[in-house]
């Protein structure tokens, strides 16, 4: 977990614009994410969440605006950013036809971990996630919940400063989701910044701060508690509905 030692903010976004033709997918976004924060990135489907997260991860170029991730400039220091971020998508992004250890070895190898480190990580993960029974099995044989937790662990195998989670809990039952969030908390407590998109509003309650996007713009950004007060709502769901209806 290195990052640029100078940086105090995990993510700084100023006036980020992403246009597809005449359509503003991201319309002048500006926000900052603190180090060690769990930052919830909320919005309806098509609000521009995925576009923004792709830009932050370097999968897509912005049309204009300034973006700094882990203290590095997204235009000039992309390679340094890549070393310092982890990414997990809704698809879990593991190789189904490889075993747990083989997946860890592959992803660890990509990030330049040594053989010894990979071995340690493998033992650590199998123990931590309770995967002893599946030691030899292929990933496709794992129950969904285990798969998801493994995907998260693999995404942080290189101990990145920031982890981007794009709808990591899609299609997973509530109990498994709760277990997953415990995992997230643990990592945040160790100082990792968690940037997570979701459309489960109950999950928004778990975040330190939440931004809500509507039609390419950020309409609200604050702690869940403050947002509920501000909108006079009992749950984040109500906040969201009020915002979405304009």
């Amino acid at each position: 977990m290195v990052g640029n030692k100078e940086h105090t903010k995990a993510v700084i976004v100023k006036d980020l614009v992403k246009k597809f033709g005449d359509f503003f997918a991201n319309d002048h976004l500006s926000f900052e994410v603190d180090r060690g924060e769990i930052f919830g990135f909320l919005g309806a489907n098509g609000a521009g969440k995925t576009t923004a997260i792709k830009i932050l991860c370097g999968l897509s170029h912005p049309t204009s605006g300034e973006v700094t991730v882990a203290g590095y400039d997204i235009y000039k220091q992309r390679d340094l950013i890549k070393q310092n971020i982890g990414y997990m998508s809704q698809k879990f992004s593991l190789y189904d036809d490889l075993s747990i250890a083989e997946n860890i070895r592959f992803y660890g190898g990509i990030y330049g971990l040594s053989r010894k480190q990979i071995k340690e990580k493998t033992i650590e993960y199998i123990e931590k996630l309770g995967l002893q029974a599946f030691r030899k099995s292929l990933v496709k044989e794992l129950p969904l919940g285990f798969k998801q937790k493994l995907a998260f662990s693999v995404a942080i195998v290189h101990n990145p400063a920031i982890v981007f989670l794009d709808e990591p809990t899609g299609g997973v039952d509530p109990i498994t989701r709760r277990q997953f969030w415990e995992l997230i908390y643990k990592e945040a407590a160790e100082g990792k910044t968690i940037f997570v998109t979701t459309h489960y509003m109950d999950e928004a309650e778990y975040c330190d701060r939440v931004s809500i996007m509507v039609d390419g713009r950020i309409e609200a950004l604050d702690g869940p508690k403050q947002l509920k007060e501000q909108f006079g709502a009992k749950t984040m769901e109500e906040v969201f509905i009020k915002l979405a209806r304009g």
Binding site: K82, Q83, M88, L94, Y95, E102, F106
Partner: protein, 365 residues
């Protein structure tokens, strides 16, 4: 990079479908084409109309009938009955020897033998006509060793290198080409599309690995597998069908490698267009495999195609590779005679790589 190779090989060996495509299909194809085509053209029923009835014409007829390719179905006396015999499908070929055959040969050095073929199956017809021409040529040499040409109708040059007209000689180059195309282009495009479908491609792109490393890591194992596949086909052609490799083996393998790289580049290009394994598969099958089988001249002679399709066949990479292999394997030619074709395939390779790189960049925007 090493990581990629290990992972890719693990996946290949674990996926039975992939293994079947890699090794099962080539073997089955070689056997199928080999045996199916091999026995087809024996005992072809023919009719002969000898208008000359002299010594030469009798010798010629004897030579034709005593070959194992033809069975004399009817000995005609006049042109009557020709139509009927053809219509009933009783005969596949009629050989007409013109009157005063021997006399003309001796005095004018020129006589005509007319071959009339049942062309309802054009392939068959062309094979039969070349069988016949082969016999005519050899007859010509017998009676006139100094080779003062008797012009024949329908000359067929290819068989000079394949005197027995063994079909193996024709299909092995074709099968190698198709298999390399199938394995290289289809398998890479599917395997890259699979990474996209599973979302692992995104993760790879987020990681510090360079796109070019991803592509190379994915492609390299298939180079090796395709190469092994090509060697298996050659071995089978050699052992099962006794097809010799007249030319330089190293040159043949080097050209195969170039073709493999070309096909892989094409596969990468397909995968930049296709987002799912199924699209990749369909694209490879219909946009690539079928045209390359049908238009490469492997099964259907390009000469017989409509003009437009002849032009289309020019942009089919397999066409050029078939020419290369035939030149090396059957004719034993050296690089000097195939540099043009090699250059064309090289051009295709550069073209597809360039196109993929461009596409890849656009995707990132």
């Amino acid at each position: 990079m090493k990581n990629f190779l290990i992972k890719e090989f693990l996946q290949i060996f674990r996926d039975k479908r992939t293994l079947i495509i890699l090794f099962g299909i080539p073997i089955v194809q070689v056997l199928l084409f080999g045996f199916a085509l091999k026995n087809e053209m024996r005992d072809v029923p023919i009719a002969i109309l000898d208008q000359s009835k002299d010594e030469y014409s009798r010798q010629l007829i004897h030579k034709i009938i005593s070959s194992e390719y033809f069975v004399l179905q009817e000995n005609l006396d006049s042109e009557k009955g020709i139509e009927e015999a053809f219509r009933k499908g009783k005969i596949k070929e009629l050989i007409v020897i013109e009157s005063n055959f021997a006399e003309k040969l001796e005095k004018e050095n020129r006589a005509v033998v007319q071959l009339i073929l049942d062309a309802s199956n054009p392939n068959e017809a062309s094979v039969i006509s070349s069988y016949t021409t082969a016999i005519l040529n050899s007859f010509e040499r017998e009676i006139n060793p100094s080779f003062a040409g008797v012009p024949m109708i329908i000359p067929e040059t290819q068989m000079r290198f394949n005197p027995e007209l063994r079909s193996v000689f024709m299909f092995v180059p074709g099968v190698i080409t198709i298999i390399l195309m199938l394995v290289s282009a289809m398998m890479t495009s599917i395997s890259i599309a699979r990474e996209k479908e599973l979302g692992t491609m995104e993760v790879l792109l987020v990681s510090p690995v360079k796109p070019i490393q991803i592509i190379l890591g994915k492609v390299f194992p298939y180079v090796i597998m395709s190469f092994i596949s090509a060697i298996i086909i050659l071995l089978m052609a050699f052992t099962v069908f006794e097809m010799p490799i007249v030319g330089n083996l190293v040159l043949l393998l080097a050209e195969s490698l170039l073709f493999i790289v070309m096909a892989l580049a094409l596969g990468i290009f397909i995968s930049t267009v296709a987002n799912s394994q199924q699209t990749a598969m369909l694209l490879s099958m219909f946009a690539l495999l079928l045209p390359s089988i049908l238009l490469s001249g492997f099964i259907f002679p390009i000469k017989n195609m409509p003009v437009i399709l002849q032009y289309v066949s020019q942009i089919m990479p397999p066409k050029w590779f078939v020419i290369i292999i035939k030149n090396i394997m059957i004719r034993g030619n050296d690089f000097g005679s195939i540099w043009k074709e090699t250059l064309i395939i090289f051009g295709f390779t550069v073209f597809f790589i360039g196109l993929s790189v461009k596409k890849f960049k656009i995707r990132l925007e």
